[in-house]
Assembly symmetry: C2
């Protein structure tokens, strides 16, 4: 459904409603032209007026807020918005949002994981095969002009079929990852906050146990106080010398310093990392390793994913102001 097809909704529902765009001035707000005809958008970062002027006139009545990219949304900011009922995160991860304060206040939080799930899963699976089959390493080998020099000398990769992949966080992204990896003949297991009903894969209550039974871990969970450094020294030891870690979640899920040590010592088999603890800084030691694939936090960035996010945001705002059910609601624990 194209956004443009929904103009009828505006006409039939009378005046547009107030939506606060919460963003750092450096972040673009690409949805503006789509939402503006339908809602009364407040965008202090894009306004010449001082933020104080906004607060005095509107802050009391704002019920819905769009949190753009990873703009921090703190308890202090939330305290300025006493009528707030809905936060729409335009990212899959919500570690930049004070989710506990949202829960305490009964504010509903939606995220973008359903819009981004397929692209994130495509990327995660490709990072995993890339590490196992050494595709980026092969590309570097050729770019360095080494093929005519070293000839057949090139390390073998490893076959996917029969490999055991542990998915950490079996939400919408993790489920798409599992669907794809099954087509490659991998067997799937998972860990998650709770065991999922109607899921055919073996469940492990903790990541340490999952790691001990996996050839690779794919991190698809959100970052919270419970999941920070969920991939620690013990988990990497359990994963073992041939084990591979793929991260399309958040950098903070991995104890990065420990991962670098494991990789440098050869105590883990490889890593495919789209996210890092201190972006855009990446530990330089990783640049020397052929069993590591690096990517600048781009797992979900395709024009199609952005269009899906635009559609999700529009649909959710429309549903909210019509008292209809929301999509992609994030379960705060």
């Amino acid at each position: 459904m194209a956004v443009e097809a929904n103009q009828e909704w505006l006409k039939s529902n009378g005046d547009p409603h107030l939506v606060l765009v919460h963003r750092l001035p450096s972040f673009n707000f690409q949805l503006k032209h789509i939402l503006q005809p339908h809602f009364h958008l407040l965008d202090p970062a894009g306004s010449p007026e001082p933020a104080g002027s906004f607060l005095s006139s509107h802050a009391q009545s704002v019920r819905a807020l769009i949190c753009v990219a990873n703009t921090p949304l703190t308890a202090e900011t939330l305290s300025l918005l006493p009528s707030l009922e809905l936060v729409l995160a335009s990212s899959a991860g919500v570690d930049h949002i004070d989710t506990q304060e949202c829960r305490r206040r009964g504010i509903i939080l939606t995220n973008a994981s359903t819009a981004f799930a397929e692209d994130a899963a495509d990327y995660a699976v490709t990072l995993l095969i890339d590490v196992w089959r050494r595709i980026s390493a092969a590309d570097r080998f050729l770019h360095a002009g080494l093929w005519p020099v070293k000839g057949g000398y090139y390390p073998l990769g490893s076959k996917l079929g029969g490999k055991r992949v542990g998915i950490v966080g079996l939400g919408s992204i993790g489920l798409e990852v599992s669907k794809r990896l099954e087509a490659f003949g991998c067997s799937i297991a998972y860990s998650s906050r709770k065991e999922k009903p109607h899921v055919p894969y073996p469940y492990h209550a903790n990541v340490l146990d999952l790691a001990a039974h996996s050839d690779a871990l794919v991190l698809c969970c959100s970052l919270s106080e419970q999941t920070r450094h969920i991939i620690n020294k013990d988990v990497m030891t359990a994963l073992g010398k041939k084990g591979v870690v793929i991260n399309v979640g958040r950098g903070g899920l991995i104890d990065e310093k420990e991962l670098v040590r494991f990789l440098l010592r050869g105590d883990i088999g490889g890593a495919g990392l789209d996210v890092f603890e201190d972006e855009p800084d990446v530990p330089r030691q990783l640049f020397e390793l052929d069993n590591v694939v690096l990517s600048p936090h781009r797992a979900i960035f395709t024009p199609e994913a952005i269009e899906a996010l635009n559609q999700l945001t529009f649909t959710n705002l429309k549903a909210f102001f019509s008292n209809k059910p929301l999509q992609s609601v994030y379960q705060i624990e």
Copy 2:
């Protein structure tokens, strides 16, 4: 089934049989230790005796020949082996073998495509996603230290879901490619020497027509006089400015000079190339392009694929000398 488990077969079948190992001295013959207990191996390239000595004593009686890697097997060599009935190619491609002479003589040819199909398909699919999602390019971006400098400036990739992929040659490799790409939400069509029964995908009798209806072409066919430069100027034009070509077959399937021109002019969207017309030489202009992923003819190289090849060769030799059906027979046209 482990090769070692088949010792019983030797005992129950009496003397081992004569098998000629045809290889360039620079190619390793890793199967030796597996086959030697079961067959009478002749390996002139690994013998201190001159080849003439071999010919005078054994060439008349050789019925089976293993052709190692891409060692040329010409009509002249075949003419020295009047009793030859079976050629076992240890590669998926057979363009180094005079297949017409085999057909004329009624020599059966088997290749390794069933042993290599899954690994080749894994690699082809990953090259395709890599080009569409720019994963090797992202890895290079980080290795060049550009993330902190250029920040969010990074070209968007393209989503897989909904893309139309045309598979050129729907043999065992092509079928595995299609199975995997379906899990990513791609739609599949194919061209092949003949329309395949029991295949659910749309068939195009020629590659030009397939290209006109595809967002990407994946080349999985063998190289022959019929398929040389099957990807030519007209096909690339039909594929269009956003079209992507993936080649895990043979370099000669593509008019490489034309492909380089199309890529440099931006008249085609990208390429993922594991094979080249003049290996190990790769056109250097490709090194500058971020929409090209390069690999040193490694699509099938995993320890698991080599083990599968060993098993296939052993099984086929055993079947041949027992007058049982062979696997992975190559249909010469």
